[in-house]
Every structure is written in C-alpha cells, then in structure tokens.
Amino acid sequence: MADSSIAARTPVGRRPGRHVLRAVVVAYLFFLVAWPLYLVGRNAFADGISSFQDILTDPDVTHALRLTVVIAVVAVVINTVFGVGISLLLVRYDFPGKRALNALLDMPLSVSPIVVGLALILVYGGRDGWFGPTLEAAGFQIIFAVPGMVMATVFVALPLVIREVVPVLQEVGDEQEQAARSLGANAWQTFRRITLPSIKWGVIYGVVLSLARSLGEFGAVKVVSGNVLGDTRTATLVVEEKYLNFDKGGAYATAFLLALVAVACIIVVSVLRPKEER
C-alpha cells in the first residue's frame, strides 16, 4: 500500500487509532456493500450457469434487458447534453433566480422516485393528466409507454452530470475561453476545441454515474411504465417480478447482470482516468 511510508512516519502513539479506524471502515463497507453483492453473485451462480441460460432464452427477459439499455442510453444522452448546457449556464453566467435553479437541480436526489412517477402521471397521464390528454389526442402516448419511462429516468439522474461538471468548469476558469475568442474562435468552436476537452473527465464521470443510475432505476419507472410484460417491463421490474414469483434463480441472475454492468462502467473509468490531472 502507498500509505505504509506515511504510517511509518506517524508518531507511535497514533497508530492504533489509525488501525481501528481502518478496520471500522473496511468492516462497514464489507457488511453493507461487498458481502451482499457477493451473495447476489453466488446465488446467481447457485445452479451453475443454468439460471443465465434460462433468462437469456426467455424473450420477455431479453426484451426487458434491451428496453432497459435503450431507455438508459437515451436518458444519458439527454442528461449529458442538458447537463453540460445547464452547468455552463450556472458557472459562466449570472442571472436572477440562479440560486433557486441551483437548489431545484438537487430535487431529484431528495425526492423519492415513486413521487417522481406519480408527479409525471399527474401531468402527462393519458386520461386525466394536466397535459396528457392533449398529447394523446395528438397521437403521443407518454404514460405507460417508453417516452414516460425515459422522462422518469432522465428526472432521477438529472443532477449527476451537472454535479460532476460544475466544479470542473469552476476550476478551469474562463480565461482559456476568452483567449480562444480573442484568437478568432466563435462560441461553438470555443466550446468544441477548448471547453469540452478541459471538462472531458467530469463529463465522462457524470455519464458513467448517470448510466449506472439509469440502468438501475426502479420506483419511478414502475409507476409510469404500467409494467406490461414484453412491452414496458424493464430489467429491474423483471427482477422484482421473478423474485415475487419464487423464481429466485432468475431474479438473482438478472440482478447480477444489472450490477455487473454498473460496476464495470465505474471500474473502466477509474482505470482510464489519468492519475494526475493538471
């Protein structure tokens, strides 16, 4: 470990404290995160790979997996574009109501996803929503269809890109952008050639977090999807369904796939991210 040299230099009297602290943290993470996740994996493989063969040959499950990926990717694209835009607005411009907007952006983290789902139904519900009947008359179904599920996912993952990008933008400052402007670059060229490369890692990290969050969204999607088998049922809903129907093998196998993708995303980025950025 890199910190062994630091430990060697600390006064002898403080070392037991450090060890206790480290043991507490490790035990905490082990019982809360590592052990349960490991058990999901072990249960998924309890019957060898037969559970995986079962779910991957079930057309309803593969449809659900595909739907989850499509919704997550669309939601991440939307959240990335708007997230970078809103971050630029928050950092580079002053306008009345900026603090209110800033606070509003954290709402999705504090509001329960179920509430998000219900709120969306109130607005876009096809029968007695505020805006829904109008849209439905025009041929757009939002609730109990993919658009509503994308909206719910976008909502819950909204702050993740912004909270990664804003501090990076603040740290980079706007002098490089001013220099680019004075050298003849227009707003788009400045963004493409200067701003985006300097916030690249913030954006990538935000995208990965959003992707992981979007793949795993359950509550809000459950409310707005209607959970129709083979149509609007996503992977997380499959897990619940299988679990409640005593198909534990299928539930754990699907859960394992979901966890695997999310963990893989984060590992890939941690490996790629330059150790020292500056």
Binding site: S182, G184, A185, I194
Partner: protein, 333 residues
C-alpha cells in the same frame, strides 16, 4: 492600426471602473497603461479587446468602429497575466490555434508556427504540454500564440505580473526588443512604474477610472501633471508645501540660502545614502545622495544643514489634504 478611445465609461454594479476616458493610442508604438490596482486600466484593455463591453463611449481600432464587435472579429492579440494556455494542447497546437480557426493550409500553419517558435525561443519545446514549461516560457508561448494571427494590435494584461523578479526583468527587455522587430501596435497594462518607464514609448497613467496624464516616460517623470503622477512615478519627499524627488534636493553645510534643518538619521542603501533632515518647523525631509556627495559634505547625525531644491527639477504644489495619501501611494523599491 491606431486605437481611438472616446468617452468610454464602465460600471460594475456601484463601482465606477472607467469614467469618461478618452485616449488615443498611436500606431506602431509600445504604450503602457500604468496605475494602481483597481484603477481601471485592465478594464480599459479588456474593452479594447472586446472581452468587456463599455457602457458608454466608442472604441475605434485602425479606423473601424469596434464598439459592438465581438472579440473574435476584432483581430487583436491578447496576452493574459496567468497565460491562459490551452492545457490540453501542445505548445505547437497552442500557437497554431488562431491559424487553424482561420482554416489556413496545413503547410502554411506549420511554417508560420516554426517561425514564431523561433521568435520566442521555444523551438525545442513544440511538442511539450504547457504544464511542462516554466512561467516565463508559458508567457512567451502565449505571446507567440497571440502574434500568430497577425493582430492589428497586441494587448498584454500585466504580462509579467505572475513571474519572479529576475524572469520579469528578462522578459521585459525581451518584449522591448521584440517590439522593435515586429512593430505591431502594442498596449500593456502594468502597475509597476519602473516597468512602464523602462519599456514603453508612451505611458497613460490611469487612476480611479480616469486618465491622469498621457506622455513619454521623460514627460511624466520630468513634468508630472499633478501630485498623483508625481507620487506614483517615483519616490517623493515634502519640503514646505512642495513635493520633490529626494535626489533633487541639495544639502549644504555652510550658512547659505535654503531651509535650515538638522540631520536626524543617515541610512546607507547600497550605492545611495538616505539622509533624513528635520527642519526648524518639525518637518522630516528625506534627501538621497551618492556616496561621493555624502563624503564631500562630511555630515553626521546632528549636523546643522541647509536644504534647497535643485534648479529645473520637477516639483508639485501640495494640496491641503495630501499627507494622508503619502504612505499609500509612494512606490516601493
């Protein structure tokens, strides 16, 4: 390539940064905007570049009204105090940036970048990233980048302010020589009067959002328009109600013309001797002498002397409220 600034005003909330400023900056010269921090000189430079918009007034660059033009259409080169290097691009790509934006042919860009890197002595550093350069090298790169687009005017905002004293002095000499080679109309902002006096052809003294005086370094030093310029450009001391430079005072031991006083303190600082004289009415006056002058006088603490101002030297009548300003505005050495 001259710059005409007429009646420019700029406020930030309640703070008046520039108050009806009119300056005419001649073509092909090296002009310094000199003044204390917060006096408005950087704001004026940024308004010329288009990075800041004037509330009132008009900016003309090379005969063209640039008041409403965005920075990318003004064809100015801007050099920032903290370099504003594009951190993710190599030195070459930094210098090439403006040319790439202008979609010049690759071959032309390569040739021009080579020339500029040679001009700023960074030939061997083309493939490095800006973080691998020293401060002075980064600022030379920034200068090459600004010059690459063949700007009508080159604007430098405290270009040497972030560098240590030795590098600052080298770069200052180098900027002067570079300007003698390139002749682009150049404006630089500084709060260091020595830097302005040494490098500039013309100095605009700006304080509290207003122009105090415009002139050559000699004009400003020898014929300061007011007390502020007098104090800002060099050390001053007060004799009676006159402000005068300490080296423009003459000391005599024989009973002669002049204000009588007694030597209260003698300090030697390198090649100069600083003598403090207390006059009969209690005023403490500083006189600086060369070592030889001091030895010839043969004075020590307690000697009675006479003080007078050498003929043909700049003095300023002191306004009544002035003494409180003294410590704040006397430049440090």
């Amino acid at each position: 390539m001259s710059i005409e600034i007429s009646h420019v005003g700029k406020r930030f909330a309640d703070f008046v940064a520039l108050d009806d400023v009119s300056v005419s900056i001649p073509a092909g010269r090296l002009t310094a905007l000199l003044g204390p921090s917060g006096g408005g000189k950087s704001t004026l430079l940024r308004i010329i570049a288009g990075l800041e918009r004037a509330d009132t007034g008009r900016v003309e660059i090379d005969g063209v009204d640039a008041t409403a033009l965005p920075p990318q259409q003004r064809n100015v080169g801007f050099v920032f105090q903290h370099y504003a290097a594009f951190k993710h691009l190599s030195v070459r790509r930094n210098v090439a940036f403006g040319l790439e934006i202008r979609k010049r042919p690759t071959e032309e860009i390569r040739r021009r970048v080579d020339e500029l890197l040679a001009l700023v002595h960074l030939e061997q550093f083309g493939d490095r990233l800006p973080t691998q350069l020293s401060g002075g090298q980064r600022q030379r790169m920034a200068l090459a980048r600004a010059l690459a687009v063949e700007p009508t005017v080159l604007l430098l905002d405290e270009p040497f302010g972030a560098l240590d004293a030795k590098v600052r002095k080298e770069l200052r000499d180098w900027l002067r020589r570079l300007h003698d080679e390139v002749h682009v109309t150049t404006v630089f902002v500084t709060h260091d009067q020595e830097e302005a006096l040494e490098v500039a052809d013309e100095i605009v003294v700006i304080n509290e959002g207003r122009v105090e005086q415009i002139g050559s370094p000699d004009d400003l030093y020898d014929r300061p328009a007011n007390e502020f310029v007098m104090r800002f450009l060099g050390p001053v001391t007060q004799l009676g109600d006159q402000l005068v430079r300490p080296h423009d005072l003459r000391l005599a031991v024989d009973p002669a013309d002049g204000v009588p006083g007694r030597v209260s303190r003698i300090t030697r600082i390198g090649f100069e001797i600083r003598v403090e004289v207390t006059t009969a009415d209690g005023q403490s006056v500083t006189v600086t002498l060369t070592r030889n002058e001091f030895l010839a006088l043969n004075i020590e603490t307690g000697t009675d002397v006479r003080l007078r101002i050498a003929p043909d030297t700049p003095t300023t009548q002191l306004s009544t409220h002035a003494p409180t300003l003294r410590t704040a505005l006397t430049p440090t050495h």
